[in-house]
């Protein structure tokens, strides 16, 4: 608790002027449930990350009212959507009020002619697409947390989509949104006038500024999204290779082929295949000489997908690929949309099964640097594992971020035995995260393509990555959030208030 008990009462009393009693939650279960995120953290320190209370607003006006009160009373505010992020954006570091947006989940307007939908940001893509499917439409923002992440969280983190090489990522798919600033003021942000415009050259391009800030610049409450026809056909072949180098060359060739229905390609390295062969029923029976995998995905009309698919099969064949079969190709791709439902365990060095939480460090890396980054990252995790059984290397994926094969979401999955994550192991992990980020920067990459970079460890290098741009971040933060109430403690933004008068 960072607010004294009597101040909680003061805050609750003030909140009752804008919310009903049942929208204000102060019980332990309500607060604990809203402190939970997937990224592992030492169990004995969980109490450090509790909010003092949570609220469940149902409208932009209510969110604005809560933020205005918080700003007046100098109480921290942390927006929470699905709580599925991997860089702790939704974690309160200084207590305060968690604004849980999940009740703002209505579909406000479906514009079939302009192909847009306007929604409350508390809706999940799965639920939205169930409705859109009735009209033959889809909103193709597709994270690995697809069934449980929410539109607002995708805006706050500027999310990355599995099929973004075909349809774009969250920044491309969100046209505009209502946004509550840290002072409680409300603005509509998008290209130019916003709303349903996809390209404007009028004024500063503010939309990107208010996406990916991890809740440090306010809260998106209502968004207008771009829609596509629901694909008629899907194709997701998986190919096996007996070495990484051939698979690497193949994934590059597939991504550079310029096939219009290409929605993404994925490269699984040798460590990932070894992990799957331990614990994934689809891979356990695979021959021993399968050492790397490539998957390509296409969506579109069947008469587009079939010839495009043949082209990709030819490319794969030229690179020595072996098709893994329909069952594994179709099943594994379907499972990629829903990785958060997977129960997880890892192994001690002696091979015994232990319960482990999944963590994933990511970066944006150019194609030509993938092998070097992969090698360096595995060495970092191998060093951790040599010292303790708390960490287990679950291998690496690289996913295309775009349709030209330029850069890849590169991620290393690490099993973490959270029950054994003591202070010593946590320090080892934070250092490893810092080292992983440093490798990305040394290869002209970005610390994150997807997750964000505001967690302990990697965040230390954000000023190095952004250079003068980080100073601009500090200036913007100070200007927009004069009292540092919006998700304080994240992204080293406290530095904005250290030198001089914040007013």
């Amino acid at each position: 608790m960072t607010i004294a008990v009597e101040r909680v009462d003061e805050v609750v009393t003030a909140l009752r002027t804008v919310l009903r009693d049942e929208q204000i939650l102060t019980s332990k279960p309500d607060r604990y449930n809203r402190a939970r995120v997937p990224a592992p953290f030492p169990v004995h320190r969980w109490s450090e990350r509790l909010p003092d209370l949570a609220v469940l607003p149902t409208s932009t006006e209510e969110v604005a009212g809560v933020v205005r009160i918080a700003n007046d009373l100098r109480v921290p505010v942390v927006p929470r959507d699905g709580g599925t992020g991997l860089t702790d954006g939704a974690v309160p570091l200084r207590g305060g009020i968690v604004i849980d947006v999940k009740r703002m989940n209505a579909i406000k307007e479906l514009d079939l002619e302009n192909r847009t939908v306007t929604v409350g940001t508390g809706i999940s893509m799965l639920k939205l697409n169930e409705e859109l499917g009735k009209h033959g439409l889809i909103y193709p923002d597709d994270p690995a947390s697809y069934p449980c992440s929410l539109v607002g969280g995708r805006i706050g983190t500027s999310g990355w989509s599995l099929i973004g090489s075909r349809y774009g990522h969250t920044r491309d798919l969100v046209l505009s949104f209502d946004h509550v600033l840290p002072t409680g003021d409300v603005m509509h942000v998008g290209d130019g006038i916003g709303h349903k415009i996809s390209k404007s050259s009028s004024g500063y391009q503010l939309k990107h500024l208010f996406m990916g800030h991890q809740g440090t610049l306010g809260i998106a409450t209502e968004a207008t999204l771009k829609l596509f026809p629901k694909p008629e056909a899907e194709l997701s072949p998986f190919w096996a290779f007996d070495n990484y180098d051939d698979a690497y060359r193949c994934v590059g060739a597939l991504a550079r082929a310029g096939v219009a229905t290409f929605a993404g390609a994925v490269l699984f390295d040798e460590w990932k295949v070894a992990y799957l062969r331990r614990d994934d029923e689809a891979y356990i029976p695979q021959p021993e000489d399968v050492r790397a995998l490539v998957c390509a995905v296409m969506y579109g009309y069947e008469d587009e997908v079939r010839p495009a698919g043949r082209r990709l099969f030819r490319i794969a064949k030229e690179h020595g690929a072996r098709y893994l079969g329909d069952e594994i190709s179709e099943g594994d791709w379907a499972a990629r949309h829903d990785r958060y439902a997977t129960p997880l365990h890892g192994r001690t060095k002696t091979g015994q099964v232990v319960p482990m939480s999944w963590h994933c460090e990511d970066a944006a890396v150019n194609y030509t640097n993938l092998p070097s980054v992969s090698k360096a990252w595995h060495e970092i995790v191998a060093d951790l594992r040599r010292r303790t059984d708390v960490f287990d290397d679950w291998g690496m994926f690289t996913y295309t971020s775009g349709n030209t094969g330029l850069d890849y979401l590169t991620e290393i999955d690490v099993g973490i035995w959270e029950q054994q994550l003591d202070d010593r192991a946590w320090e080892m992990w934070v250092k490893a995260k810092r080292d992983i980020a440093a490798v990305a920067l040394a290869h002209q990459g970005s610390i994150s393509a997807c997750h964000g970079s505001c967690r302990e460890g990697e965040v230390d290098l954000v000023p190095d990555e952004l250079g003068r741009g980080f100073d601009v971040m500090l200036d913007l933060k100070r200007q927009l959030d004069p009292n540092n109430i919006m998700n304080p403690g994240k992204y080293l933004l406290d530095r904005a208030y250290e030198a001089g008068d914040p007013a």
Partner: protein, 99 residues
């Protein structure tokens, strides 16, 4: 209720807790029913003990996963193009080119 041994209602403990004889499929895994893989029990003796499931539950979990994946396919696209068909078409192109 009749006491008929063939009565379908009822839970026969011995039947349900007698899965097919396991086969070792890798250094770390065994299989019982088709598509049902388990960690080798020797690797679940120290930190996590292996649970025993009745057969119906093992099969339910396996089948539910199949149902879920099928639902996801339908959710994202109206149909799935089968890779093996395209592979055969590409192979026949090559045969044609070589003839």
């Amino acid at each position: 209720m009749s006491g008929d041994a063939n009565d379908k209602i009822g839970f026969r403990y011995d039947d349900q807790y007698t899965p097919p004889e396991p086969e070792q499929v890798s250094d770390v895994a065994i299989t019982t029913f088709e598509h049902v893989f388990e960690v080798d029990p020797r690797l679940m003796e120290r930190w996590v003990l292996q649970q025993q499931f009745p057969n119906w539950d093992s099969l339910r979990i396996m089948n539910s996963r199949g149902d879920h994946l099928e639902w996801i396919h339908r959710h994202f696209a109206s149909k799935v193009v089968t890779g093996s068909e395209l592979l055969a078409e590409v192979a026949s192109e090559n045969e044609g080119a070589g003839s």
